[in-house]
């Protein structure tokens, strides 16, 4: 079970958080202009990385804020956490 450093509250137990899948998939600005394929890409296609993965988490039983996590899916090590809107750290 992870120890996750919430960018707002600090290090807490994983039980306080939940994960919401891959990060940095922005909702398209004008969905109506997209083809079915492009829209499907946004809805369904995820990178499912082996290695460095960026994902969204919420501190549900804490500050209720969303933030991003950089995690190695092989070692399960959390390498960084950062606020929404911030640049993703380099791997």
């Amino acid at each position: 079970m992870f120890v996750i450093k919430c960018p707002y509250c600090g290090e807490r137990d994983q039980t306080e958080f939940s994960c919401h899948g891959e990060a940095h998939i922005a909702r398209p600005e004008n969905p109506e202009t997209l083809t079915d394929e492009e829209w499907g890409e946004y809805l369904f296609i995820r990178s499912n990385k082996k290695g460095i993965h960026y994902e969204r988490w919420t501190h549900d039983h804490g500050c209720r804020r969303w933030f991003n996590v950089m995690r190695d899916t092989v070692s399960d090590e959390i390498l960084a956490t950062y606020k929404m809107g911030e640049e993703k750290p380099k791997s």
């Binding site: 992870f2 004008n30 109506e32 919420t58 209720r64 929404m84």
Partner: protein
């Protein structure tokens, strides 16, 4: 005769404190400090139980948690526990235990016929037998369940208390033997917060059982000195009787502490067990090693045990379990046990399958008259309920063949030692990688994970002085990493064990394997009765991967998790395939390390603490007035309010009629409520809901549907504009938290520049929904607000006083009748409710529950999200296209409406269903078909989502999702019931009552 196998002095038992206990109904005496196993051995009881598959008589193999054989049923009544290891149970006055897996008694067990039928119970028996036809599965299951357990589960509720504790420390040391004590000492001296855990009742581990000297102190006295120092440190916590069960990411470990299990009376102040959840900055594993059995024919009889276990019984418990002893070994170390036994007067013979015995050893054996048979192997044993004879034969090492003549030796105890397996279970759980050590013939830790060290025998190191020094250094190193240092260095100059375990040259499993034939009894896994023949069979039948062999033969799958069997099984596979063990691999170790109670994992989260219960401010009134409750999420909601002898149908019919004819009242406080504030709320709502929100006036309410990005309906509710920048959103009861997260997700991750603040106010407001033609007249006398039809039209909100309390009144309706939803602060909720009940008498005000609410809304064709929708339904599918804005450029879900699948015209659509017989209330969830066949499969065209008897219409009504349903009005469809009966029903409009909506505009 009592304690006939007890020696006069020595050991760590207190001979002045006799303890009475019962085994299989017979009374025995043991002493303070005994385990059930040691006390039984002292009384010359070797037969403990029957084996799992063949019901063979079994005794005591080990002296610890790795015990596969000596499993007993412990205690009586609601506290009885099955499969308890006699080697771990500390005896207490009045203890009662009994044998398992035998009937009518352990001495005469009918199931042992399986032993003679073993040819019909080969590996994979269940897989081969219980396969087909599927209709026989219920029969198979019964058989499998019966065969699947050894002991009996208690039938009454456990009366004990279990607790949990969260613990944070600098350094966790697992195991308080030689190495663990040293690591803890170094860390303790450095001022680190140390948690030292050991599964035995006192620390010391192996040092309690061997002849070793450390700086001129014998190992027992030395251990006590170290303990005294450790106990003097406030920063060191020592937990005995505690087993670390799981080792997870980031040094998170769980441990089970047996707090009062060893006491005759369970205290009502102390829990029975305590479950520790530990987060440690550093972890040092110092769990030691398990001795490995040897695999030979008949190696499972009572009276055959591991050499180290016998030594423990002798030196720690003062028990000499046999007087005529055979030791079968492949290493020097076990000779120490033989010499200890000879010194206590036993006649000892050593069968050693090595050719060259070091002369120092043979000299020492000569002195105490121990005869040695080098290059020999036990090839069979005799004796039914206890071993009485072994057959030995010479081994030709080069050809791995038996030569020479068979020799029989009488005995009453056989000890075996196949070397040592480091206890790598926890290390492996932590994702540590193992490697095969060819000299030890076992797996040892290879790559450590972060913030972890493995020390001592656990790491494959068996030299005592080195172990002590290295373990101390490990503690120091971690302390340094934590920025602390010890003010004392380790002073130990000399430390040596009488005979050290160096390396075992010999294959660990067996000699004479050519004698392994179908049905022969070379046991590899004692608990699951897996023999060498089973392993051979699995390989022949193609289950070659180690994971396949494990599952096919069930080796290592018992409650002991193969602590004594795994390495032998792997070595056997290595022999069969003629490949090094490294290439065979090993199975994965998983928590728990040893069996643990579910009670401890549950802790205090049982009964009413299992899941929080949410109650409205009116709850006690509901209870006092006989409501039957329904769980809606965590909420307790009144389901209906039966009067006198009413059943649910009578009550619901009465409640519904009251609403339609006069005045009903519903506690609607559970509705999700979210307060939205900020300049961008309207813009935000436009993106969240399918309809338009920009023009909503202050004081107006609007119904909205929310869709997810797939265009599927996800929640609904009414949102009201309270003031310029403030809105009040309601959600479904079950969807409140989900909607709140949904709003936050978009505000926090997509539209960061929007100024909208969401606050859950569900519990801040009590909502009383009054409904019925008399509701206006009734309410007008209790409020200062003008609620006349002209001044207060439908879908408006007004603020004012109700019964003298500040309130918001919403003119919205979920019943189709003239309705008002009165919101008051929760602390006044019950007061207002009581006022309503008092003043409503005149109109026969009738409280109604969720069932009537469902019927009333279904009569009007109002959907319930989650019941009439299931996450695969668009607004169009539920005939609510009218609420989807065609003008808005964007909102959540919009783009998906034009995907080819959501655009299909033959999707399942929400329609009404009227049964042709006018009386059958269709079960919700029933399948709808065009053509009913005598048995499935049938082509399903939809399902019934809501179904009730409608007291207003006086016939059953139903809502259903049916393919192309909106274009099939008037068609007759079939509903096959589980009973085999087929009901005809006609597709209709989904509104059954007051289609024009005149009534709520009264």
């Amino acid at each position: 005769m009592s304690n006939q196998n007890r020696i006069y002095k020595g050991g760590r038992i207190d001979r002045d404190q006799a303890i009475n206990f019962k085994f299989n109904g017979k009374e025995y005496i043991g002493y303070q400090g005994d385990t059930l196993a040691s006390a039984l051995l002292a009384n010359d009881v070797h037969l403990i139980g029957r084996s799992f598959k063949y019901h063979r008589p079994r005794g005591i193999l080990t002296s610890g948690s790795e015990e596969p054989n000596a499993l007993v049923q412990l205690g009586l009544g609601a506290r009885t526990e099955p499969n308890m290891r006699a080697t771990e149970i500390e005896i207490y006055e009045g203890l009662e235990a009994s044998s398992q897996n035998c009937w009518p008694s352990v001495n005469f067990d009918i199931g042992s016929i399986n032993n003679f039928l073993s040819r019909v119970f080969p590996a994979g028996f269940y897989y081969k037998t219980f396969m087909w036809p599927p209709s026989l599965w219920l029969f198979y299951e019964h058989f499998i369940r019966k065969a699947a357990g050894l002991g009996v589960a208690p039938t009454a509720k456990n009366p004990d208390r279990y607790e949990q504790k969260f613990h944070y420390c600098d350094i966790l040391v697992v195991g308080a033997g030689a190495s663990g004590l040293m690591s803890a000492l170094a860390a303790g001296r450095s001022g680190c917060d140390v948690l030292l855990i050991d599964e035995k009742h006192e620390p010391g581990g192996y040092l309690r059982n061997i002849s070793a000297k450390i700086d001129n102190l014998n190992s027992n006295d030395w251990t006590n000195e170290i303990l005294k120092e450790l106990e003097s440190y406030e920063n060191v916590t020592i937990l005995n009787r505690t087993a670390v069960m799981g080792y997870y990411d980031y040094n998170y470990l769980t441990a089970l502490q047996k707090v009062t299990n060893h006491l005759p009376y369970l205290s009502d102040k102390m829990p029975r067990e305590r479950y520790w959840r530990i987060r440690a900055k550093k972890v040092i594993l110092a769990q030691g090693a398990f001795e490995r059995p040897l695999v030979f024919s008949g190696n499972d009889r009572p009276g055959i045990m591991l050499a180290s276990a016998a030594r423990t019984y002798l030196n720690q418990f003062g028990v000499l379990p046999g007087k005529s002893v055979i030791l079968f070994t492949n290493n020097d170390h076990a000779y120490g046990t033989a010499i200890d036994f000879a010194n206590k007067g036993a006649k000892v013979t050593i069968v050693d399958n090595r050719e060259d015995i070091p002369s120092e050893l043979s000299d020492r054996c000569n002195k105490v008259k121990i005869k040695i048979y080098p290059s020999h192997s036990i090839i069979n044993t005799q004796g039914y309920q206890k071993v009485k004879k072994v057959e030995i034969q010479k081994v030709d090492q080069d050809n791995n063949e038996l030569t020479g003549s068979l020799r029989e030796i009488e005995c009453d105890l056989v000890l075996m030692s196949g070397g040592w397996n480091p206890s790598v279970q926890l290390f492996s759980q932590s994702r540590g990688k193992l490697e095969y050590h060819s000299k030890l013939n076992s797996f040892i830790p290879k790559d450590l994970i972060k913030n972890q060290k493995v020390v001592g025998c656990n790491n494959g190191d068996f030299n005592l002085l080195e172990v002590l020094k290295n373990s101390y250094q490990a503690g120091l190193d971690f302390a340094t990493e934590l920025g602390k240092s010890a003010n004392k260095s380790l002073e130990i100059e000399t430390a040596f064990e009488d005979l050290e375990f160096t390396e075992a040259k010999v294959e660990p499993y067996m000699i004479g394997k050519k004698k392994v034939t179908h049905g022969s009894k070379h046991f590899v896994d004692f608990q699951h009765d897996v023999t060498a023949a089973d392993i051979f069979l699995a390989q022949r039948e193609g289950y070659i991967s180690v994971e396949h062999t494990k599952r096919y033969t069930t080796t290592g799958m018992g409650t002991d998790q193969g602590k004594t069997s795994n390495v032998n099984a792997l070595a056997l596979m290595s022999h069969i395939h003629d490949k090094p063990v490294d290439n065979i691999g090993h199975t994965t170790f998983r928590p728990p390390y040893s069996p643990q109670t579910i009670g401890a994992i549950a802790g205090r989260n049982v009964d009413h603490l299992f899941d929080p219960e949410r109650k409205t401010a009116i709850h006690q009134w509901h209870v006092d007035n006989g409501a039957e409750f329904e769980d809606v999420g965590q909420w307790k909601r009144p389901h209906y309010f039966p009067q006198k002898n009413e059943n649910i149908h009578d009550a619901v019919n009465r409640e519904c009629r009251a609403v339609r004819n006069s005045l009903g009242i519903l506690d609607a406080s559970t509705l999700g409520k979210i307060d939205l504030q900020g300049p961008d709320v309207a813009k935000f709502l436009n993106l969240i809901y399918t309809n338009a929100w920009s023009k909503l006036e202050i004081g107006s309410c609007r119904y909205g549907l929310m869709c997810n990005e797939h265009g599927m309906v996800f929640d609904d509710g009414v949102t009201t504009r309270i003031s310029e920048n403030r809105y009040h959103m309601t959600t479904t009861t079950g969807g409140a938290a989900r909607v709140m997260s949904w709003l936050e997700e978009f505000l926090q991750t997509e539209w960061l520049d929007m100024e909208v603040f969401c606050t859950s106010v569900t519990e801040q407001w009590t909502v009383l929904s009054i409904s019925g033609p008399n509701s206006r007249e009734f309410l007008s006398s209790l409020t200062d607000i003008d609620i006349s039809k002209e001044a207060f039209p439908f879908m408006k909100m007004k603020e004012g006083k109700v019964c003298g309390i500040d309130a918001r009144i919403f003119r919205i309706s979920f019943t189709g009748e003239l309705s008002f939803e009165i919101n008051v602060p929760s602390r006044y909720g019950l007061f207002v409710w009581n006022e309503f009940m008092k003043h409503g008498k005149k109109y026969d005000i009738t409280p109604y529950g969720t069932e009537s609410m469902h019927v009333l809304r279904a009569e009007k064709g109002f959907i319930i999200v989650g019941q009439d929708t299931d996450g695969s339904v668009t607004p169009k599918d539920i005939n609510m296209d009218w609420i989807v804005s065609k003008k808005k450029e964007d909102f959540l879900g919009k783009r998906s409406f034009s995907r080819s699948d959501t655009r299909r015209t033959d999707r399942k659509q929400l329609v009404g269903l009227l049964v042709n017989d006018k009386k059958t209330v269709l079960p919700e969830g029933s399948y709808v078909v065009d053509e009913a066949k005598p048995r499935p499969p049938m082509d399903m065209i939809g399902h019934v989502s809501s179904s009730y008897y409608s007291p207003t219409c006086d016939h059953p009504i139903a809502l259903a999702l049916i393919k192309n349903g909106l274009n099939r009005m008037g068609d007759v469809v079939k509903i096959p019931l589980m009973s085999g009966k087929v009901i005809d029903a006609t597709i209709t409009d989904s509104i059954f009552y007051d289609k024009e909506g005149a009534r709520n505009n009264e």
